[in-house]
């Protein structure tokens, strides 16, 4: 029964929350397809906000909901649930917050191989494994995912340049969720 609720509880999590609020600071026509793509990325990745620049166009998409609560009576859910993940003590600015114009350009996402908590650094005091613009080789360590005190290295599947980091340090991730984009 609990297992069933776990499965049921997980699925709606990525899409929980209000529709993303769209703030644009544009000086020319807005690329609606780009906005739609960003909004989907925001929901898929559980990020709080994404900001991009393309030419002199700048778009910022913010999601207001932070809760991951389910209401009682949801299909197959035994009880309302909340998934809580660890956050590191340090509050250093993350690369995701500074992701800019490269975000929606070409490149392949790196998916999370398991459910857990993503870390961008080996310990709260350590330097991040990678930053936006970092050149990586196939097999380089780009992230850690902790699940039940098991630490799993996430390696770059290919050589390239990190163009977007789609999770914050200490953020919960679901199976298959895009972690970063490597061009």
């Amino acid at each position: 029964m609990v297992d069933t609720s776990a499965r049921a509880g997980n699925k709606p999590r990525a899409s929980v929350g209000n529709a993303p609020a769209i703030k644009s600071v544009a000086s020319n026509a807005i690329d609606t397809a780009l906005v739609a793509r960003l909004a989907k990325l925001l929901q898929d990745t559980d990020l709080g906000e994404i900001e991009v620049e393309k030419g002199d166009l700048r778009i910022k998409i913010v999601r207001h909901s932070t809760a991951t609560m389910m209401q009682q009576g949801a299909p197959m859910a035994a009880a309302p649930m909340q998934v809580v993940h660890a956050l590191p003590a340090s509050k250093a600015p993350t690369s995701a917050a500074t992701a800019r114009e490269e975000v929606v350009q070409s490149g392949e996402p790196v998916p999370a191989p398991m459910v857990g908590t993503a870390y961008l650094r080996a310990s709260p005091e350590a330097k991040p494994f990678i930053e936006i613009g970092s050149k990586v080789a196939a097999g380089d360590r780009i992230m850690l995912i902790e699940a039940m005190k098991t630490f799993n290295d996430i390696l770059s599947p290919r050589a390239g340049t990190v163009t977007a980091i789609l999770v914050n340090d200490g953020q919960p991730v679901e199976y298959g969720q895009p972690l970063m984009i490597i061009e």
Binding site: A6, M81, H85, L87, F151, D153
Partner: protein
């Protein structure tokens, strides 16, 4: 294969080094002395002389998404090994597994685990289970209660006495896990030995501390707490047991919900 070293920085680091050199395991690395032991997320694991420091290297022991289950497999194995070492039923009845895999005696920590998974080559996932057991000493200045086997047994307990029990128990539980197909059985064995099940516990996630009734672990091994009718699940964090909790009473409360 079992390797015994007098002194190593970290048995986990040595196991990883060997995996990168081509070792595929099962390989046990034991060190009498470990001077750079590591704990969760950059914490130091102190290992005073006389305690057991051991790492087990396995290759592709389960699908990647199920590797965290090995922590529960190892937790049940360490519990079994400590029961076989201590034998006294009165003492072993109070040995429990604190989520996800510390062994405690009336809440005092006896052993700790840290697991790491590294892809050492395409398609080759090295999984390293690092285990530290307090045989005759506890480190100074710990922020939590701890004890050691000699104190519980009322006699000297050597690391060399515990190691064979542990190696056998790991083999047994890994076989039960069956590469992931048997996790439901491991989960049941874990729950039967769980510390604080049905009582109020707290979880410190690094950014916040949350309390609730410890209801169960889910199909992934996540800790399930219930607070005011709301269920919360945790995949990372430090658990604090309530020393005054009465398990029987709390279980009744849980059933009446």
């Amino acid at each position: 294969m079992i390797e015994h070293h007098q002194r190593l920085g970290s048995t986990n680091d040595e196991a990883l080094r060997r995996a990168r050199e081509g070792a595929r395991g099962p390989l046990f690395i034991i060190a009498d002395e470990q001077f750079a032991g590591r704990g969760r997320h950059g914490k130091v694991w102190q290992a005073p002389p006389g305690n057991l420091n051991i790492s087990l290297l396995l290759t592709n022991p389960a699908p990647v998404a199920q590797l965290p289950e090995l922590g529960f497999v190892a937790g049940v194995a360490v519990h079994g090994a400590l029961c076989e070492t201590l034998r006294d039923a009165q003492v072993t009845a109070a040995l429990k597994i604190k989520w996800p895999n510390d062994i405690v005696h009336h809440g005092a920590k006896l052993s700790g685990l840290m697991l790491e998974a590294h892809q050492v080559q395409h398609g080759v996932q090295a999984c390293i289970i690092g285990i530290g057991i307090n045989c005759r000493a506890i480190p100074d200045g710990l922020p939590y209660g701890a004890t050691h086997l000699a104190a519980l047994a009322g006699r000297a307990v050597e690391a060399a006495e515990v190691a064979p029990h542990l190696i056998a128990a790991l083999g047994r539980e890994i076989a039960l896990h069956g590469g992931g197909a048997g996790f439901a059985g491991i989960r049941q064995r874990w729950l039967a030995r769980a510390a604080g099940l049905g009582t109020m516990v707290s979880v410190d996630t690094g950014s916040a501390r949350r309390s609730g009734i410890f209801q169960t672990i889910d199909m992934h091994g996540r800790l399930v707490l219930v607070m005011d009718g709301v269920e919360a699940r945790f995949d990372a964090g430090d658990v604090f047991l309530n020393p005054s909790a009465n398990t029987a009473t709390s279980r009744k409360e849980l059933e009446s919900q």
